[in-house]
Each structure stands twice: as structure tokens, then as C-alpha cells.
């Protein structure tokens, strides 16, 4: 049996922990951590029962309204990155971090008054470090790649299921709606003058662009059967998030960065490992064997 990510557990874990640290830093710098929200007043839970549990238990209130609890929560989140980085196989740190990170995700969304997916993929990613052995880690990391494919493929599927894809001008309607504030606030910006003005006058291009973006989402379904096209999937993820940024005025930088890490192949991890070795790290002793086996391979 092949465990292609097994030799790179430490390396992958350290990269992901580094990303968690950077994302936490971004949140801290942009005043998004619970203790920085200045006792927020509005909430929104929708029908998400996990948010309900957080509200009923008053965990959200404790973290946003109690100065010491809020500070302690943020400090522990940051501090946990250190042992996670130094001891990538010590599961206990990852389990605690995962719980706290999930609470951060939920509390952030409750007070944002919108269930945004900024941190969602990072929440899922934190589960793969629960594996005791490196073999289990390899399998779970592979599973995370399949989850990423599920994420985009389900977004593709739901556009049919919920009917959005049958609306030809969906792209143009969403574009006008989402960008209204930007266009109103920046009538003379370069983007308004050169990019948005053009697209506003050419709805067909916007609608075709939306369908292309939608096809890029659908492309992830291929990822269930082969890993050969993972570079193309990386490009697709980049294209989807950049067009979302340009045409919907929302930037999911967290999702974009973790998607890249998830789609790095074992061979590429090997190259990264070698590059780090050259700088001064220790070599990995286990040989690499690339795996292109498929999740739905009926012949095996």
C-alpha cells in the first residue's frame, strides 16, 4: 500500500502551521480576533446548530465580552503554533488547537452576522493532524485533497441543484449587485474606468466569464479520479478566488493559500524538502514514490 505523504509529515505540518500563524496574524492586525471586537452587539446564527450551541453555552459572550478570557483565548491560539511547529507528531496540541480554531471560526461568523467561509477550509484542515502514525497522516492528507475536490465539485453541483446555473445572466446580476458599493465609492478609479465600465457595457462577456468560472469549479470533479491534473486545479482555484475578488469584492485569501498547499504533489514536497535540506535541514530518509491512484478506481 502506498502512503505518498508519509515521508513529508513534518514538512507539510510545518507549512500548514506556518499558514495558521500567518492567518491568525492577519486576523490580529485587522482587529478580527474575539477580544478585539469591542463587545460586538449584533449576532446572526441562521440554522447552524453549532452556532446555536456556542450561543447557548455563552462561549461567544465570554470571549468577546470578558477581557481576560478573550486575551487568553487569542494568546493560547498563537502560542499553540510553537509546539505544533516544533513537535509536528504530538497530536494533543493539534486537537486543542483544532477545537479553539473551530470556536474562533464560529464566534467570528456569529458576530460578523454572516456565515462566511473565510476560515472553513482551515477548520477542516486541522483535523488531518489527529492521526497517530505517519501512514494515517498520509491518508488523511490525501482525504483532505478529496475534500477540496468535494468543495468545488459540490459548489458546481449545487448551482444546478438550486437552479442558479440555469439563469443565463446570473454573472451580470451578481456583478452589478456586488460591485455597486465599489462603483459608487470609486467612480474615478482605474478599475472602474478601465475594467468595470467595460464589463458593465458587455454583459455577455461577464455571463460567459461566470460560466467559465463555474466550469473551473466542475473541473475539481476530475480530481476524484486522477491526480494528474492537480496543477490545473491549482490554477482553477487561483482563477476562482481572483475573479471572486475582482467581481464580487470579497477576498478569500485563507482558502486560496490552503488550497495551494493541499494540491502540492508528493513529488513537489520532495523538491521543497530537498531545497530546505540544501539550506541546512535534515534529509528525509524514506524514499518517495509518487501516487496517481484514484479514489474511484473500480479495477483495484
Amino acid at each position: 500500500m502506498e502512503y505518498p505523504y508519509q515521508p513529508y509529515r513534518k514538512l507539510i505540518t510545518r507549512f500548514v502551521v506556518g499558514l495558521y500563524f500567518l492567518i491568525l496574524l492577519l486576523r490580529a492586525c485587522s482587529y478580527n480576533l474575539p477580544d478585539q471586537l469591542c463587545h460586538p452587539v449584533f449576532i446572526e446564527t441562521g440554522y447552524d446548530l453549532s452556532y446555536w450551541a456556542i450561543r447557548i453555552s455563552r462561549v461567544d459572550w465570554l470571549l468577546t465580552h470578558n477581557f481576560f478570557a478573550g486575551i487568553l483565548f487569542s494568546v493560547v491560539l498563537f502560542a499553540l503554533c510553537i509546539p505544533m511547529f516544533l513537535f509536528p507528531r504530538k497530536r494533543i496540541y493539534f486537537i486543542i488547537f483544532s477545537i479553539l480554531f473551530f470556536i474562533l471560526f464560529a464566534v467570528s461568523n456569529i458576530y460578523l452576522t454572516h456565515s462566511q467561509h473565510y476560515l472553513a477550509l482551515l477548520v477542516i484542515s486541522s483535523f488531518v493532524f489527529f492521526g497517530r502514525s505517519d501512514k494515517t497522516f498520509s491518508l488523511l492528507w490525501e482525504g483532505l485533497r478529496y475534500y477540496l475536490c468535494f468543495l468545488f465539485a459540490s459548489a458546481f453541483f449545487l448551482k444546478f441543484y438550486n437552479g442558479g446555473q440555469f439563469q443565463w445572466d446570473l454573472g451580470y446580476v451578481v456583478f452589478r449587485e456586488q460591485m455597486a458599493t465599489y462603483l459608487f465609492l470609486h467612480p474615478n478609479s482605474w478599475l472602474t474606468q478601465h475594467l468595470y465600465s467595460f464589463f458593465l457595457l458587455h454583459p455577455t462577456i461577464v455571463n460567459i466569464g461566470q460560466k467559465v468560472t463555474f466550469l473551473f469549479e466542475g473541473l475539481f470533479a476530475v480530481g476524484f479520479f486522477t491526480k494528474k491534473y492537480d496543477r490545473l486545479l491549482m490554477f482553477s482555484a487561483f482563477f476562482i478566488f481572483i475573479t471572486t475578488m475582482l467581481f464580487s469584492d470579497v477576498f478569500f485569501i485563507e482558502q486560496l493559500l490552503i488550497s495551494f498547499l493541499i494540491l502540492i504533489s508528493p513529488k513537489q514536497w520532495q523538491r521543497i524538502d530537498r531545497s530546505i535540506k540544501r539550506i541546512g535541514g535534515k534529509p528525509n530518509k524514506m524514499p518517495h514514490k509518487d501516487n496517481t491512484s484514484a479514489i474511484f478506481n473500480s479495477s483495484s
Binding site: L112, S133, Q165, E177, F251, N297
Partner: protein, 173 residues
């Protein structure tokens, strides 16, 4: 199903955990109910229909006489304002009653729980002061005065936006 077979042979516990996770994610996706961390990735999946006379809404915020306006690269610095101002406006327009209250009543959610899940008139009253405090943190300035204006906009024949009307919805001096 090579992956699941491999997982089953290697680690039964992980096999059941991953299987249940994917199963529940699929199920909840089909009934369109997100229970985190079983996420439903349904962004822009429903039809968006607008009547021709429906206005586009935009908000402008001035603090100490300056316009608060950040680009999309600084999404994180502006998002707690961008989302909550719309919430404040929606509550204000709905007579201080959270629209979610009616939905919770429809599903007969016990009052003691429902109270924890909705906003009330008190939240709305506190919001302008909260906004002032939070923006002081974000901008690093002591905010003396703050104005939020709501605009009703429409696209003209040349696709330029024009203001149909406007109203001040928050003013602190």
C-alpha cells in the same frame, strides 16, 4: 473506491470518521443545512432575480470628516463594518424586530433558546457607539464624529450609477 479501501485496511477508526464526515457533508448539502463543520458550499447557487425598479443599496461612512473606504485587499479590516451596517439597517427597517424571530417561531423553537439567537432593540441602540469604538481600533484614531449615510442607487442607460435618494442612518457628534 481505492482511497476508502486503503483507509479501511490501514486504520479502521479513521475510515469510519472520514466516512461519516463525508456522508454527513453530502446529506446536509442535499438538504441545504449547514451545521459547521459540515459546510454547504452553495455560494451564488440560487437564481438572482431583481425587479427593474429595485434599488441598489450602498453605505458611506465618514469618521472625523474622513471617508472610511478600504480596498478589497483589505477586506478583513472592513468586513465587521460592511456586514453589520446592513444588519443594523435591516433591523431598523423592520421596526427593531429581527426577521429571524418569525422563522424560529415557525419552527417552534423554545423561547428561552430563541432569545439567544436573535437581536433586539437594545442591540440596535448600542450599535452606533459600538461602531465608533470598533472604528477607533481599526483606524487608530479617537473618533469624535461619525456619520453613516444610506444611498438608493440605480444604473442608468450608460451603466453609470446614479443616486435616487439618500438618508443619514447614523450620526454621532
Amino acid at each position: 473506491m481505492t482511497y476508502f479501501r486503503k483507509l479501511k485496511k490501514s486504520n479502521r477508526r479513521a475510515y469510519f470518521a472520514v466516512g461519516i464526515f463525508f456522508g454527513l457533508s453530502l446529506l446536509l448539502m442535499l438538504i441545504n443545512l449547514q451545521v459547521s463543520p459540515f459546510f454547504v458550499w452553495n455560494m451564488y447557487s440560487v437564481k438572482e432575480v431583481r425587479s427593474p425598479d429595485e434599488a441598489y443599496i450602498a453605505y458611506k461612512l465618514w469618521y472625523n470628516g474622513k471617508l472610511f473606504d478600504l480596498p478589497v485587499e483589505q477586506d478583513h479590516w472592513r468586513m465587521y463594518y460592511a456586514y453589520t451596517i446592513a444588519k443594523f439597517d435591516a433591523l431598523r427597517e423592520n421596526g427593531d424586530i429581527d426577521p429571524f424571530t418569525a422563522k424560529l417561531r415557525f419552527y417552534k423553537v423554545p423561547e428561552v433558546i430563541a432569545q439567544q439567537l436573535v437581536n433586539n432593540a437594545q442591540s440596535e441602540k448600542k450599535y452606533p457607539e459600538w461602531l465608533r469604538g470598533y472604528l477607533s481600533e481599526v483606524t487608530g484614531e479617537k473618533i469624535q464624529n461619525l456619520v453613516v449615510k444610506k444611498y438608493w442607487l440605480s444604473y442608468q442607460a450608460n451603466e453609470k450609477l446614479s443616486v435616487d435618494s439618500s438618508a443619514v442612518i447614523i450620526s454621532i457628534n
